[in-house]
Symmetry: C2
Subunit: 201 residues, 2 copies
């Protein structure tokens, strides 16, 4: 068998440590990187370096260019009475791209997961409580993922605010528009039935 | 809607230009890169830089560390009478990993694809013919992919050698071991029937 080509082997190992990149994909990417034009490789490396200069907003923990500050917290047109709580900046981005929410956000930077040793103290829940106490927040929308961990995290935050006057809501769950009832799972159908809306007024 | 975060946006664009990386995967990778420990990012960039120093062997066009030379062409234990012709270095690696071939290789660096403007002159076919003429090659195994382009490329090379004494073979086609006949496609079954082997002696 041929001796391993070190240079490529290290790159394949590095790439296959990224989320969702298996051995085969890593190999394909590595061969692609070898063949890429020099300027494209420079561009990629520069993009990585640039992304590494991003910082978390100390208030909402969204990712921002350090030099510009948080584009959401600094936006005067946004509704400062509502905070939408998400797990990751990528969730915030998805919501922003939908264009349906105009309040503020709070990124938890994870979810409570005891099995992975992630406790509430590892998230930005303390900072969230600080914001809620100090500002005139009327509603907290819990937009953690509809998973066991996301639900546990939402429940934890909900309990913390039980004695307050703040309205705490959770994103609706049901059949996703565009899908079919036939292929919806039991859990999705249960959610949809439980959350059914009265149309008769 | 929030202003785009330049640093992340450029990285997502760069990543999504890689083969098999869609917009969503690129976004996930970008967020991962932002969160990676500094040393892991350094390691990744170094691995990319190192991989970029690989060079093609001027004889067989396999990828090699420039300093060590071609590990296959320089290996005296290999059978120098047989050349296995593949499209890409990754094909050569797959064959090497199987450990079933001990001859030399020739990497075409592509396949003939008129629709994509890849003609025989864009491949290393001329160099292959030079090797075949100058050395004592007894057999050429055409191991291009079992696709329209791979077949066209194999046919082209086969025609070039029609008047020579060299034995030209093509990898066998049939049902892949471990799969089931029930799920094999019509084309696979046709290949398997056509290439059936006589067991009765």
């Amino acid at each position: 068998m041929m001796k391993k080509v070190d240079g490529l082997d290290k790159l394949i190992t590095s790439l296959s440590q990224m989320p969702g990149i298996g051995k085969k994909t890593a190999q394909r990417l590595a061969f692609h990187i070898v063949k890429m034009p020099e300027e494209a490789v420079r561009g990629l490396i520069q993009a990585v370096e640039k992304a590494r200069t991003l910082t978390y907003c100390p208030v909402c923990f969204n990712l921002n260019q350090a030099e510009t500050g948080c584009s959401i917290c600094n936006d005067d047109r946004r509704d400062r009475n509502v905070i939408c709580v998400v797990e990751q900046p990528s969730d915030l981005w998805a919501l922003e791209n939908s264009g349906v929410f105009h309040g503020l956000y709070h990124v938890l930077l994870g979810h409570i997961a005891h099995l992975d040793n992630v406790s509430p103290e590892d998230l930005t829940i303390k900072q969230l409580m600080g914001r809620v106490r100090q500002n005139n927040i009327k509603e907290l929308i819990l937009a953690t993922n509809p998973t066991v961990e996301g639900d546990a995290t939402a429940l934890y935050i909900q309990k913390l605010l039980e004695s307050s006057n703040i309205k705490v809501t959770r994103l609706a769950r049901g059949i996703p528009t565009g899908s079919t009832i036939e292929y919806a799972s039991k859990v999705i159908l249960a959610d949809a039935l439980q959350g059914r809306k009265n149309l008769s007024g």
